[in-house]
Amino acid sequence: MRQTEPDVATLRCPVCFDREIDVLLMHRDERYYCVKCSYRGDADDVRTRHRHSRSKFVNRTRRIDLGGIETL
């Protein structure tokens, strides 16, 4: 089995992540697969799903200082 991409050590399963569970994807050739669920896909698909997962955090790029907290 090959190691994962050189730029990062690991990728987590996007399907399990959406259930708030960290499961490292296994990697065979160009495909990643999950041992906990039936997800499989290439690195691009994993990244796309991760981007989708983080999109629910609407304020992830918003600075909310003391004044902002007051009005939340």
Partner: protein
């Protein structure tokens, strides 16, 4: 706001990352507390670095009980694992004595501060015997338990829910419970391992959402090399000063493993390093502007003893930061209980820990609790259903309001916190009024009083009403537990008091007790948490009482009290909202 920055050097090969962490803190004028592990005590270079930084920057050097997989520990007890609190008493003692000796041999003095993700009562007793000089400890991870266990694919055995979110005086019998008085105190000031998001800690796994930038990366709450959430969380804790007499506390404790390639982060280590640096830069800015005071861990413990007497209360008005939901929660803790009010569910209780029962728990193989260090709940709506899902609801509190013959559940009416008043005897939380009903509508204002004597009073003010009169049924649904699964309820007793008490023992038979006379009360006793819960009128109104036994598909005790409210005069252009009547119902917790 007072700040502790803690670093935990470990393996020799990550020494460079430890140096980097220290450099980030010192560059921003922040002292650190260096908590040495078995790994780093075995690395002369890291020992030397710690001594150098203590001399040059005034950093404190303490001891960490984390990472008991080092060869020296395996040689000592025959195996290695992560958690001191889960070892047998013999092994706990051996490890503490070994590390205390190693520390003194390395530094020539005994540590006054310690760190562990959890320090159960038996471990705390051993610490007091072996290292009586210790004054401060990182001793718990706020709300780490069921969700973190699931989140780590059922592999992280830290069941540590039900503690204060900020520093506390641990009691001797259960270290997550704040001590009642000096006699009840274990003798060490404790701080939590990280400050947590006080909304997302309740709603999900909170090892994502803490004062730890790589944890936020783990949760994916960032974008590129930007993570304003890290600073937003700091400011949320600063914002709490107004509710706690000007006091607020923050810490961060990032170990070197999180700045290297990590199994739970799908990004480059350089991003984790950058975000950690940015966090310390912001804290440095706040220090320079006089908004943050950095201390060492032991320095903080001494300050805490001088400024926050045992028995102090603490509150946290939490607003949701990341999803943009607008949700409000209110947390309150004192020696009697920890309570969470959920504004999105009408101000009902979402979590209730009855400290008044003084449940004693040690963890370890000799203890019946085994790995479960959690302080038990009586209400936990996230673990135990909360709002109705299938046939019925679960643990929560609410009011059922009858308007023109239709019943409405206040839990279905989201509101927001309008005002908080932290008085000496009670903390008052006022919610924005809600308009309830489909046809005929009643506008109801809820105010909750959290009294220091273990009583919570729900006040419902009828602000306006189309139908003239409504019925209010205050209702509390309870079950003791420590995880999401039900515990056996054998031994639980429930009853109502009319002229004389009527009482039944719990046998999952769906029975109901009711009374119609004035002066009625409903109550239940829960032996596993040594707590009696009683509903009683806190006004002069006529109330009727009910106590309901559940069954195996709904294993709870439901206590309720019902009264009627009307508008004293018909609302018109000239009358004021104060013309409506108000009810006040007390939920009282006491030790059995």
């Amino acid at each position: 706001m007072i700040l502790n920055i803690m670093h935990r050097p470990d393996r020799a090969e990550r020494r460079g990352l430890f140096e980097l962490e220290q450099e980030y803190a010192h560059a921003n004028g922040i002292r650190t507390t260096i908590l040495m592990t078995a790994e780093s005590l075995a690395d002369p270079a890291q020992v030397a670095l710690a001594k150098e930084h203590a001399a040059e920057f005034g950093d404190e050097i303490g001891l960490s009980f984390h990472g008991l997989t080092h060869r020296s520990i395996v040689d000592l007890i025959g195996y290695g694992q992560e958690a001191l609190w889960l070892l047998s008493l013999v092994h706990k003692r051996a490890v503490i004595e070994h590390l205390a000796r190693e520390f003194e041999d390395s530094f020539g003095f005994a540590p006054t501060s310690l760190a562990s993700y959890h320090l159960d009562a038996s471990t705390m007793r051993l610490v007091r015997q072996i290292m009586p000089q210790v004054r401060a400890a990182v001793a718990g991870c706020f709300e780490e338990g069921v969700r973190v266990f699931h989140g780590c694919n059922h592999s992280w055995y830290l069941f540590n829910e039900g503690m204060p979110w900020g520093p506390w005086y641990p009691s001797s019998s259960h270290t997550l419970r704040p001590a009642r008085d000096a006699d009840d105190w274990c003798g060490i000031v404790a701080v939590p391992h990280l400050m947590r998001d006080m909304v997302l800690s309740y709603e999900g796994r909170n090892d994502f959402w803490a004062s730890h930038p790589p944890n936020v990366m783990r949760g994916m709450g960032y974008e590129g090399e930007e993570c304003p959430y890290d600073r937003n969380l700091i400011d949320m804790f600063r914002w709490q000063e107004q509710f706690n007499g000007g006091y607020s506390y923050y810490n961060s404790f990032v170990s070197t493993a999180w700045l290297a390639e990590h199994h739970a982060i799908d990004d480059r280590p350089e991003v984790a390093q950058s975000l950690y640096r940015q966090q310390l830069e912001y804290l440095g800015e706040l220090k320079r502007s006089g908004n943050v005071q950095d201390m060492t861990l032991t320095g903080f413990a001494d300050w805490y003893r001088d400024h926050r007497p045992i028995g102090s209360t603490e509150a946290f008005f939490a607003k949701e930061l990341l999803y943009g939901s607008g949700k409000h929660y209110f947390w309150y803790v004192d020696a009697n209980w920890r309570v969470l009010l959920d504004a999105t569910q009408g101000g009902g209780i979402g979590d209730l820990r009855p400290y008044v029962g003084e449940v004693a728990v040690d963890t370890g193989p000799e203890s019946p609790a085994l790995c479960y260090g959690t302080y038990p709940y009586l209400i936990q709506s996230q673990h135990r259903t909360g709002m109705p899902n299938h046939s019925s609801d679960g643990a929560r509190s609410t009011a059922l309001v009858t308007i023109a013959g239709e019943v409405y559940d206040l839990g279905e009416y989201p509101t927001r916190i309008a005002r908080v008043d932290r008085g000496p005897q009670a903390t008052v939380v006022e919610f924005e009024p809600v308009a309830v009903g489909d046809g005929a509508v009643a506008t109801i204002a809820t105010t909750v009083e959290l009294h220091r004597n273990g009583a919570i009073v729900y006040r419902r003010k009828l602000v306006a009403c189309d139908d003239g009169e409504i019925e209010v049924c205050e209702r509390v649904k309870l079950a003791p537990g420590i995880t999401e699964y039900p515990q056996p309820l054998a031994g639980v007793t429930l009853g109502v008091v009319d002229e004389a008490p009527t009482e039944i023992d719990y046998r999952y038979d769906g029975r109901r007790l009711a009374t119609s006379s004035s002066g009625a009360r409903a109550y239940a006793r829960f032996p596993s948490v040594s707590t009696r819960v009683e509903l009683e009128p806190a006004d002069g109104r006529r109330w009727t009482a009910r106590a309901e036994e559940g069954h195996l598909f709904s294993p709870y005790v439901t206590l309720s009290m019902t009264t009627k409210l009307s508008m004293t005069t018909k609302l018109s252009m000239t009358t004021k909202p104060s013309d409506g009547q108000e009810s006040a119902l007390c939920v009282r917790l006491s030790r059995m």
